[in-house]
Amino acid sequence: MSAGARLPRWVDLGLLPLLNLAAAFLLSGLVVLAIGEDPIKALRILVNGAVGYPEAIAFTLYYTTNFILTGLAVALAFHAGLFNIGGEGQAYVAGLGVGLACLYLDFLPGFAVVPIAILAAAAFGAAWAAIPGWLEAYRGSHVVITTIMFNFLAAALMTYLITNWLLDPAHGAPETRRFAGHTTLWTMQEMLGWFGIKAPRSPLNAAFFLALAAAVFVWIYVWHSRAGYRLRTVGSSHKAALYAGIDPARTIVVAMAISGALAGLMAVNEIQGAQARLLLSFTGGYGFVGIAVALMGRNHPVGVCLAALLFGALYQGGAELAFEMRNINREMVIVIQGLIILFCGALENMFRPTLARLFASRGAA
């Protein structure tokens, strides 16, 4: 059957994803048209809002940081055959780790607190993901349902902790006091300042490099380590894994923990980098964006980074769009996100038979 037909590498990795992406954007354009706005004008506002001026680019990269991390989380779990849709909750609970470290360990010097807070984020995220992993591995509870339940539990837990214990009474809003300056990450403005480059104020911070490092880590871990080999073996066949002497249950728990740790690092960008305080619902749906990012990026770190950049631009440009066009709100980006999951994920092979026929006939001629 042509669905499994082999295509030239550049078609498989380049043309096909681009076609899927184009289909998703075409439909998004129809939605814009349906609510009575001009899709071409919308696209122009979106692109300009995303990359049109230095501040926009900084904001785009700040969102990109979130999406690289949550996208890597989903991608890594995918290689183990797991669909981790709990990145949202894992990042939320990881925020608690960052918050506790920055609030209560700020008597320590910066070079101690900063790494502790980052590790705390990873550890809290890992723990929140390892439980659904354990339930999947040892109790047979489907990880999709349990991670969704853990998202709701995370929301309840964090609301309780922030509104009852952590909030700053001097403040009206349900959020903690600001973290001491030495516990937070460098902003991009500061870092560029060292080299005498003037940059606009933006939430972009050192976590951007943390995200890139995480991408390299995932690449090494999944494709160039024994543990990664175990992970991929379990992902393709539990039976084969067992035959090879690999314990699938253990591998699943480890994969979920690492996936949760990656999602948890998103809290570093938001809480320790951009906000410098712990606040309600700071995850803003970025955990779910990770699903679209991973699917679009074909679960490869390079693809994830590129897809994250696209989504970063969409989020930043989308904010501008909602501001400029009366009939469009920020949720337009969620529509595009859903369509991308549909076309790049579930319908990824829709154009394959046609392309295969095209290339087969060209090859024959």
Binding site: M1, A3, V31, I35, G36, F83, I85, L135, R139, G140, S141, H142, V144, I145, T146, I148, M149, F150, F152, L153, A156, L157, T159, Y160, N164, F288, I291, A292, L295, N327, I328, N329, E331, M332, V333, I334, V335, I336, Q337, G338, L339, I341, L342, G345, A346, L347, E348, N349, M350
Partner: protein, 324 residues
């Protein structure tokens, strides 16, 4: 005594009201999963249905028109799901997730553009909603102690969709276990090759199951926005589609046990509503967030503690291709 009866009855009555969307979605999932399609998209179909129902009920001032619209929209979503994972053999879970995300985005965007009320639909007048119905002789039987209270407050006084749902459970049980369609449906979820060999189209059967799933999720959505509430609110499904899926697993893909699983979840939900702000002996006041987490926590405990390895329909989750 009468006070205790009243308390219990009103708790059970709100259990019934909260169970309806869960039951409808679980039955929807039953059709889909029995045919071999894992349906993570229940949540999205229900949300899209809720929005369609509230919009059309507002425009036409008719709850029934809203219901029809909800079913159509939800069926359209189900067909997209089918197109992705039956026709193109895509990943079923990913397709379901795509529909969920799409539903969240589309409902918010359209509600904002059409009604300009910040993502909700305008409040519905009573005429455009499903209102409580009185069963016959409520006044006469109501005078009898205990039985009267049970009759008037638990059995009577619900809206049409509640009674429709109560009727649908045995109907679905009959269709799935006592009809030719049901036999084929169960067969295609266990062993699609056998069904194919018998000359029956696997794809057609699965599409039919998706139609049923869409229709039922549509009713659930209409219930949320035009019976339980009087408007569509952003993300008003709040994970109910996933709770229903858990109930379906807990009920081992059987209609009656699934019904009871839904009632348990709904009871937890009703109970948490009652316990908010109440001083419990020995514990004191339980934080409201802990109470709100109760249904989700219960779902996890039931899934992990009692089901163990659930025996899903064997072919569910696997796209069918003739060659393999």
């Amino acid at each position: 005594m009468e006070d205790l009866v009243l308390q219990t009855v009103s708790l059970l009555a709100s259990t019934v009201r909260l169970a309806v969307p869960l039951i409808l979605c679980a039955l929807a999932g039953l059709f889909a999963e029995r045919s071999g399609v894992v349906d993570i998209g229940l949540e999205g179909k229900m949300l899209a249905g809720a929005f369609a129902a509230a919009s059309v009920a507002f425009w036409l001032q008719s709850a029934w028109a809203g219901l029809a619209a909800a079913m159509l929209v939800s069926i359209a979503f189900a067909l997209v799901h089918g197109f992705a994972c039956i026709t193109h053999r895509g990943n079923q879970v990913v397709a379901g997730m795509a529909l969920n995300v799409l539903a969240v985005g589309l409902t918010a965007v359209l509600a904002f553009a059409w009604f300009q009320e910040g993502g909700k639909t305008p409040a519905l007048a009573d005429a455009a909603r499903f209102r409580p119905l009185q069963l016959p002789f409520a006044a006469e039987i109501g005078a009898v102690p205990v039985i009267g209270t049970i009759y008037v407050r638990l059995l009577s006084g619900h809206n049409a969709l509640v009674y429709l749902t109560a009727a649908l459970v045995p109907v679905v049980a009959f269709v799935v276990f006592r009809t030719r369609f049901g036999l084929r449906l169960r067969a295609v979820g266990e062993n699609p090759h056998a069904v194919d060999t018998a000359g029956i189209s696997v794809a057609r059967l699965r599409y039919e199951a998706m139609l049923a799933s869409g229709a039922l999720c549509g009713i659930a959505g209409a219930y949320l926005s035009t019976a339980q509430s009087a408007a569509f609110l952003r993300e008003m499904t709040a994970g109910k589609g996933f709770l229903a899926l858990a109930a379906l697993i807990f009920g081992k893909w059987m209609p009656i046990p699934t019904l009871f699983a839904c009632l348990i979840f709904a009871f937890a939900d009703a109970l948490q509503g009652r316990l908010q702000g109440v001083e419990l002996p020995g514990i004191g006041e339980v934080p409201v967030q802990a109470l709100q987490a109760l249904p989700y926590l219960l779902t996890l405990l039931l899934l992990a503690g009692f089901v163990g390895k659930a025996n899903a329909p064997r072919a569910s989750g696997i796209p069918y291709s003739k060659e393999k």
